[in-house]
Each structure stands twice: as structure tokens, then as C-alpha cells.
Symmetry: C2
Subunit: 331 residues, 2 copies
């Protein structure tokens, strides 16, 4: 009987521990430990055949590496997570291999409409732009919306007028043209399909001060129409950051990410349930979204990085103060 | 020892029950009880002096009552929550006393740019429109975006082109003009201020089938510029519905509601922590938002209604199957 009581006590303790792991108090989440700074970046999730030409593979790897290093420079020298994620995304916007800034996909009308968002985990301040057509670096405009307007979300010609007011020089919409994306539009028009605009870019970072930030930028879907806005500029869908939980940037079927408030739901599980970021991201991506819907990158308050996707590939990179430094495309 | 084992077993069961109450699985939250159907509506939160002329007060009360009754008709006869909330909001869009549809505030340029969103708790499908200028019932367009496009969020001229494609007859932007709103713009221009566009409208409902829905529509801020989008069309900010938790519609300082993903955060507390809707709404409105930021209406799966605001007034109404039927402006 003694043994039986003992095993019941053990069982009781195990249940109690299981309970504690779901504690509601965010202050109960583990204190900071792990990497002093950390960063994850993505260049989109989707299908990339493993047998793509070597030069194409290398272009992705090089693009991701350059962008990652820009972020690492900021963080290593004690800079802000917010500056790091903006720098990374701005670098990828300039790289024509990605579906953001130059190299963005074409709309149904043969133009480019760009969306971007940035969020500062420090105070949850944020800025979003949607449907901009003449702004070279939409992520920089999103930051200016955050810092220099009373608003957080500007769209279309209005957002462009704001860009001019704050001193950004407009570019012609054809600045964003690339041959590859034009061919994708022709194919999509022939098939009357919305091709996924593989190549959305994003970054999340933790800085030495313990602050988090996230940034995402995209051209959206090839052959998109009707002023379609995806998840990227929707805070809590494609982009989210809060020092109380984590920073997240998503990529994939934007409509699904809006509907399931993906980054907000992951962060809520971390903040309210004290779940590990990895576990929370898995729960939402695997149990709530459909297989193949996309991917998400995240960083927790303790510098834990998550790069998770249910697509065949996600262009991605990760680095931290402990020496991690890698870029990858497939598993 | 036998007794001791027994009491340990009891303790074990109690801990297990305590655990279950915090279970992350929405199926574990309490089953439906309470009103068979329920509806709450709002016509904006903000400052309304208690000494407004009688006819103005009566106009608000009449407008809310008519709209509430339209929703009640749908629900009482076994109709869908989705139809009820659309009907209510559409009715308020037609009432020039509210800042949605006709009677919407003026932008800086002296025009009207309307935002709306609708969400079906049944499957979390949703539709949003932003910056539309020629659509008489933005909430109906949001519903058509949800049901007849592959997208969930359309903006600007693109959204209007979609409206025409699905058969909506455009109205001239001046259709939305009212003298009261023009005077508000003149005042705001003189003061170089963004006046709160008191009068955003929304509705949430639970139907006899146990499904939830939410809808919100607004003209945004008087004197708004740069294609500003507020919280209304942002799923998880101003509008949210999920049968697993609750339906919510918010009104107030839109930027704050986006930044704090207000409706998503309330719903997460209900779904993940098993909090009462009232408690969850209070937590977010009182502890996270600033005093005076606005209000929120909500309905839980069990038909509990919440109408909460931190402003001096919220135009609002509530009804349920148990005979509740009321409209109110102040406390």
C-alpha cells in the first residue's frame, strides 16, 4: 500500500506539473536565458524544386546570406531589433530574386502593388502599408508610418502621398519589373490562376536590450486583382511583435493567415499559456492551418529561434550570439 | 492507508479537473447554456454630451431600435447570425446619424472612404473592404468578398471594381454627404485635428444553431488622410468571430485597437484560458488599452452579451431569447 500511495503522489505531482506548464500568468514564462541576440529571416515558403539550376540556388543562398549579415551587424554591435529587421527586409526588397520591392510579382493589370508591415515589440507600435506602387522600399515606408504619422495603416495613393510628404522619392512602377515575374504573370493569366507569389520576405530579431521586432514585405500574389490585401500588413496575421511574448513573420496563403490570425494566435499561446514558441507555432501551423499553407519564423524573449513551414521549401536564415549562422532552402 | 489512497485519488481528480478547465482544447470550454439566441449592436463609442437635444437623442435611440429589431427578426425566426449582423449593420449604414455608409465622416480631401468587415464564426471565413468610395453598403460588399472572391481583404478602386463585377450599382461619393459631417470636417480642418468619427457601427450575434458572427462598418476619422485604414477591416483588431470562443465588434481609437489586436486578444483569453467573455473583455479594455480608447460588444457561445466601453458614452443595443431588449447611450 505504501508503494501505491507513493505512486499516486508521483502521479499527482506529474499532473500538477502539467498544469503549471499551462499557467495563465505571463510572468511565469521562463526568464531570459539563451542567446543574447538572435535573428531569423525568410524569403518565402512554397514549392522550389530541388533540381533548380545551381546558379538559382546560389542566388537565393547569397541573397539570404547578405541580408542575414546586415541584420547580424546591427545586433552584434548592440543595435536595435527594429533596425535589424528593417535592414534585412530592405536588403531583400532590393534583391530581385524575392517577391518584395524590385522583383515583386505582377498584378492582373500588369503592375505591382506592394504590402509591408513592421512592429516594435517594445511598445507594440506598428506601421503597415498596402497597395503601394511607387515606393522603392515599402518596409521603410511602413516604419515611417509608425514613427511619423498618427496612423498605423495606410493604403494606396494616400500612402504614396504620405511617402512624398516625408521625403521619399517615388519610383516608376516599372522599377519593380523583372522578366521572371512577367513570365509568371503570363502563365497565371493563361491558366486564370492566382499563382502564389513565392518570395515574400521577413525578419524577426531579439536585441541585446531584450527587445523584439518583426518586419515583412511582399508583392502578394501573381495575377492578384481588386486591390487584394494579404496577411503581411495585417498586424496579428502576417506580422507581430511584443516583448511580452515573441516576434513573428509569416509567409504563405495570406487569406488563411488572416482568417486564423496566425501570428497573434501563436503569440497568445506563448503569452497566455506559457507555451514554448516552437510548440505554439507548431500548434497553429500544423493543427489549425492546412498542410502546405506556408511558414513562419519567430524569436522568443529568450532568443529561441523558430523557422517552421509545411510547404516543400522555405527560403530562410538564422543567426545568434552563440555562433549559429545558417541559411537553408529545403529540410 | 486505504483512506489515504482514496483521498489522494480524490486530490488527483481535483487537480485533473482544475487542469481541464485550463485546457487549450475549445471543446473543453463549458457547453452552451443561457440564451438560445442573442445579439448586441453598437453605433460608436465616444463623447456624447448628456444634454444633447431631445430630438438628437431620440434619433439615436430610434436608429438603434430599428437596427436591433432587424437583427432580432432574423434570429427569432431561426436565421443565421451572419445574416443578422449584416442586416443590422446595413440598416445602420442607411441611417445618416451614424458614421457608416450615408452619414460617414469626411476625409481631409472632403470625400468619404469607407471600411467594413464581416466574419462568420462557423468557419472563421471573413471579408474586409477598405477605402471604398462608391459602395452604398460596404458591409454587403465585405460579405461578397467573403463569399464570392478567393480573397478576404480588398481595398480602394480594386474593391470597387470587384463590387461592379458582382453586380453592385455604384453610388456617387456625394451620396454619403451630410451637413453635420461637413461641419465636423470644417472644424477639424480649422483645428488641424483628426476628430474621432463617433458613430462606427457594429453587431455580434449568436443564432439558434449555435453559430456566431460579427460585422463592423465605419467612415473612420474626420479629416483622415493618406488612405488611412483603421481597425474595423482588420480581422482580430476591430472585428472577430469564432464559434470556439466569441464574436466581437469594436469601436474607438482604431490605431490602438490594431496595435493591441483587441478582438483577437479578447477571444484568445476566452478560448485558451477559459475566461468569461466579460472578464476577458474587461482585461483588454481596462488593463491594456488606455482609458477612453473605446468600446467593444461581444457575445459568447453561451449567449452571454458584453457591452463594455471606457468612453463617456456608447450607442448600443442588446436583445436575447430570454426577453432582454434594450438600447442605451450612457451608463
Amino acid at each position: 500500500m505504501k508503494l501505491r500511495s507513493f505512486s499516486l503522489l508521483v502521479a499527482l505531482s506529474l499532473v500538477a506539473v502539467a498544469c503549471a506548464r499551462q499557467d495563465v500568468n505571463p510572468k511565469q514564462t521562463p526568464p531570459r536565458s539563451g542567446a543574447e541576440w538572435a535573428i531569423a529571416i525568410h524569403g518565402g515558403a512554397g514549392s522550389i524544386p530541388r533540381d533548380i539550376p545551381d546558379e538559382e540556388r546560389q542566388a537565393y543562398v547569397d541573397g539570404l546570406t547578405v541580408a542575414l549579415d546586415r541584420g547580424v551587424e546591427v545586433l552584434r554591435s548592440g543595435g536595435a531589433a527594429l533596425d535589424a529587421v528593417e535592414r534585412v527586409v530592405l536588403t531583400l526588397e532590393d534583391d530581385a530574386h524575392f517577391n518584395a520591392g524590385r522583383g515583386a510579382v505582377f498584378t492582373h493589370e500588369g503592375r505591382h502593388e506592394l504590402d509591408a508591415a513592421i512592429m516594435n515589440g517594445r511598445d507594440r507600435s506598428c506601421g503597415s502599408v498596402a497597395g503601394v506602387t511607387t515606393v522603392r522600399h515599402p518596409i521603410h515606408l511602413a516604419r515611417l508610418v509608425m514613427e511619423r504619422s498618427k496612423h498605423v495603416f495606410l493604403a494606396g495613393p494616400g500612402a504614396e502621398a504620405f511617402a512624398v510628404e516625408v521625403g521619399l522619392e517615388p519610383v516608376d512602377n516599372s522599377f519593380f519589373d523583372t522578366e521572371k515575374r512577367r513570365r509568371q504573370l503570363e502563365k497565371a493569366l493563361a491558366e486564370e490562376a492566382n499563382e502564389s507569389g513565392m518570395g515574400t520576405v521577413g525578419a524577426v530579431a531579439l536585441d541585446r536590450e531584450g527587445h523584439l521586432a518583426a518586419a515583412t514585405s511582399t508583392g502578394g500574389l501573381t495575377n492578384k486583382r481588386w486591390g487584394r490585401i494579404g496577411d503581411v500588413p495585417v498586424i496579428g496575421a502576417g506580422t507581430f511583435a511584443d516583448d511580452a511574448s515573441c516576434a513573428l513573420s509569416a509567409t504563405g496563403q495570406g487569406e488563411q493567415f488572416i482568417r486564423h490570425t496566425v501570428t497573434g494566435s501563436i503569440a497568445a499561446r506563448v503569452e497566455l499559456l506559457g507555451m514554448d514558441l516552437d510548440q505554439a507555432a507548431r500548434k497553429v501551423l500544423v493543427d489549425i492551418l492546412r498542410p502546405g499553407d506556408g511558414g513562419v519564423i519567430g524569436v522568443s524573449r529568450s532568443g529561441r529561434l523558430v523557422l517552421l513551414y509545411t510547404t516543400p521549401a522555405m527560403l530562410r536564415g538564422a543567426a545568434d550570439a552563440e555562433g549559429r549562422h545558417e541559411v537553408a532552402i529545403w529540410d
